[in-house]
Amino acid sequence: MLNGISINYYLLLSAVLFIIGAVGVMARRNSIIIFMCIELMLNAVNLLLVAFSTLHNDAAGQVFVFFIMAVAAAEVAVGLAILSMIYRNVKNIDTDVLTNLKN
C-alpha cells in the first residue's frame, strides 16, 4: 500500500501509459510523435520504478530513474539530429518517405 492506494493501481497506470506509447510508436507516421511516444514509454517505466522504490523503502529505484532520464535525453538528442539531417535531404520527416531500403 502506498498512501492508501494499492500498488496494483500504479502498476496498471504504468502499463496503460506504456501500451499507449507502444501503440503510438507502431501506428503514428510523424517522426516527432514517435519520439514523444517513446518518451511516454520511458516515463511509464519511471513512474513504476518510483512507485516500487517507495514500496520497498529502497532508494535504488529512484537512482535508476535518473539514469533513465539521462539516457533518454541522449537518445532524443541523437534522434533529433538524425531527423534534422533527414529533413535537409528530403524536406519531410514523415516515416512514409523512409522506404528506400527493402527486399
Binding site: 510508436v25 520504478l49 514500496l55 523512409l98
Partner: protein, 464 residues
C-alpha cells in the same frame, strides 16, 4: 577490468586529439591502445579480480574476460580494416571516439552484475551506433538506417526497462545475485505474476537487440543502409556483447525460472532459422544477405543459451562460435567493403573477382565457407559444438531443423563463390585494396582456417 578502463581512456584521449592537434598520430595510438587493452585483459586471466568493482555493479570473471578478449581482438582487426574509411572522413576523430565508446558499452555488457550496468552497457553501446549508422550525412539510405535503428533500439530499451522495473518490484533489487536468490527462495507459483511478465519483457528486449526473428525486421534495413564498415561492427562486436549479456542474464539471473522463457526461446530459434535462411536465399544485395545470415547465426548462438545448464563445455561453444563468426565476418566485410566501393552491392559486383584479385577471392571463399559451416573452417566446428550441446536437451528436433536450414545457407553463400569463380568479370583490372586491409583479410582468413584445424584450443578454455 583494465581493458575496459584502457578503452575508456582511449576514447577520451581521442576526443582531445582534435583540440591538442595530434590528429595525425591518433590512429596508430588507438591501435596500440586496443592492443594494450587486449594484453591487459589477457594478463588478468589467471588472476581475475576476486572483488566485484563498484558496489557489485560489474565483475570481470573468466567468462567476461574471455568475451572481452573476443571483442577486443575483433575491434583491433576492425580498426585496421576500416582505416581508409576513417582517413577519407572529415570527422575522423568523432568516428573513432564513437566506436571506442561503443566498445566500452560492449565490454560492460560482458561483465555486468546489476541491472543498472546492463541497461547502461546497452545504451553506451547503442547510442554511438545510431550516430555511426546515420553517418553518411548526404545519403538518405544511411539516414533511414540510423533512424530505424534508433527507433527500434529505443523501443527495445523501453521494453527492457519495463521488464527491469517489474523485476525490481517483485524482488526489491537490481542485483543479479539477489534476483537469483529471490528465485531460489520462492517455489514456482508463489512469485507475483508481474515478475514473470518482467522476465518475458527482458527476453523480448534482448531478442530485439540481437535481431532474432520475429523481432528481426529492422536488421536487414539497418545493415543495408549503414556504411559497410559500421555494418561489420554491428554484426561482430555488438552480437558478441549481446550474447554474452543474454547468457549471463538468463543463466545466472533467471536460471531458476527456465520454464518461463524456454518455450519462447525455442520458438524464436526455430522461427529465426527458417525465416532467416529462406529470406537470405531470396536477396540480391550482398549486405542484406549477410544481415539475414547474421539472424540465422543468432539462432545458433541462442541454442547455446537453451542448452546451457552452467556446464563449461557449452560456455566454450558460445565463445568459439562468437570468435569464429566475428573473425569470419571481418574477413567477409573487409572484402565486401573493397568490392562495393563503387556503390554496386549486388552479387554481380563479385563477378569474376577470382580473375581480378585471386588472393582476395580465395580469402572471401574461406570466409563464406566458414559462415556456411563447411568443414576445416572455424564455422563448421562452431556449429558442430553448438549442436553437440543440444543433444542433451529435450529439443533434439531443433538440431535437425538447424542442419536442414544450414543446407539452404550453403546455397546463398555459394552464390558469392560462384559469382567470383565462374561468372565473367565486367571489368578486368584489379580491385584496389590497401596493403593494411589486405593483411587483415589474409590474417583473419588464416585464423579462420587455424581455428578449424585446432578447434579444441578455444573450446576447452573453460574446462577448468
Amino acid at each position: 577490468m583494465k581493458g575496459l578502463l584502457i578503452i575508456s581512456g582511449l576514447g577520451i584521449l581521442a576526443m582531445l586529439a582534435e583540440i591538442f592537434k595530434f590528429k595525425k598520430i591518433i590512429f596508430p595510438l588507438v591501435l596500440l591502445g586496443v592492443l594494450g587493452a587486449y594484453v591487459a585483459n589477457f594478463m588478468e586471466w589467471n588472476t581475475p579480480l576476486s572483488i566485484s568493482s563498484f558496489d557489485n555493479m560489474i565483475a570481470f570473471d573468466k567468462v567476461a574476460l574471455a568475451f572481452s578478449g573476443v571483442i577486443l581482438a575483433t575491434i583491433f582487426f576492425w580498426f585496421i580494416m576500416a582505416n581508409d574509411y576513417f582517413e577519407n572522413n572529415s570527422n575522423m576523430i568523432d568516428h573513432i571516439t564513437l566506436v571506442l565508446f561503443a566498445v566500452v558499452g560492449a565490454l560492460m555488457l560482458t561483465a555486468f552484475k546489476n541491472m543498472t550496468t546492463l541497461f547502461l552497457g546497452i545504451e553506451i553501446m547503442s547510442i554511438p551506433l545510431y550516430v555511426l549508422a546515420a553517418s553518411k550525412k548526404k545519403d538518405i539510405n544511411s539516414n533511414e538506417a540510423g533512424f530505424k535503428y534508433l527507433i527500434m533500439g529505443s523501443f527495445a530499451s523501453a521494453f527492457l526497462l519495463f521488464g527491469i522495473a517489474l523485476i525490481y518490484g517483485a524482488t526489491g533489487s537490481f542485483d543479479l545475485m539477489q534476483i537469483r536468490a529471490f528465485i531460489s527462495a520462492h517455489s514456482a507459483g508463489t512469485m507475483p505474476l508481474f515478475f514473470y511478465a518482467g522476465v518475458v519483457m527482458l527476453l523480448i528486449a534482448m531478442l530485439f537487440k540481437v535481431s532474432a526473428a520475429p523481432f528481426h525486421f529492422w536488421a536487414p534495413d539497418v545493415y543495408q543502409g549503414s556504411p559497410t564498415v559500421i555494418t561489420a561492427l554491428m554484426s561482430t562486436v555488438v552480437k558478441t556483447a549481446a550474447f554474452a549479456a543474454i547468457l549471463r542474464l538468463f543463466l545466472v539471473g533467471f536460471g531458476g525460472v527456465t520454464e518461463v522463457w524456454t518455450m519462447i526461446l525455442v520458438s524464436v530459434i526455430a522461427l529465426s532459422l527458417v525465416i532467416a535462411n529462406f529470406s537470405a536465399a531470396a536477396q540480391s544485395n550482398v549486405k542484406r544477405m549477410l544481415a539475414y545470415s547474421s539472424i540465422s547465426h543468432a539462432a545458433f548462438m541462442l541454442m547455446v543459451v537453451l542448452a546451457n545448464l552452467r556446464s563449461n563445455a557449452t560456455l566454450g561453444a558460445l565463445l568459439y562460435y562468437s570468435l569464429a563468426y566475428s573473425i569470419g565476418s571481418i574477413a567477409a566485410f573487409g572484402v565486401l567493403y573493397n568490392v562495393t566501393k563503387k556503390g554496386d552491392e549486388s552479387f554481380e559486383a563479385f563477378n569474376g573477382l577470382a580473375k581480378r584479385n585471386p588472393l582476395i577471392a580465395a580469402c572471401m571463399t574461406v570466409a563464406m565457407l566458414s559462415l556456411a559451416g563447411i568443414p576445416i573452417t572455424a564455422g563448421f566446428f562452431a556449429k558442430y559444438f553448438v549442436l553437440i550441446t543440444m543433444i542433451g536437451t529435450a529439443y533434439k528436433w531443433l538440431i535437425i531443423l538447424a542442419i536442414l536450414t544450414s543446407a539452404i545457407g550453403v546455397y546463398y553463400y555459394f552464390k558469392v563463390i560462384i559469382a567470383m569463380y565462374f561468372k565473367p568479370p565486367v571489368e578486368t583490372e584489379e580491385v584496389p585494396v590497401e596493403l593494411s586491409q589486405k593483411m587483415v583479410i589474409i590474417l583473419t582468413t588464416i585464423i579462420t582456417l587455424a581455428l578449424g584445424v585446432v578447434p579444441g584450443f578455444v573450446a576447452e578454455m573453460f574446462s577448468f
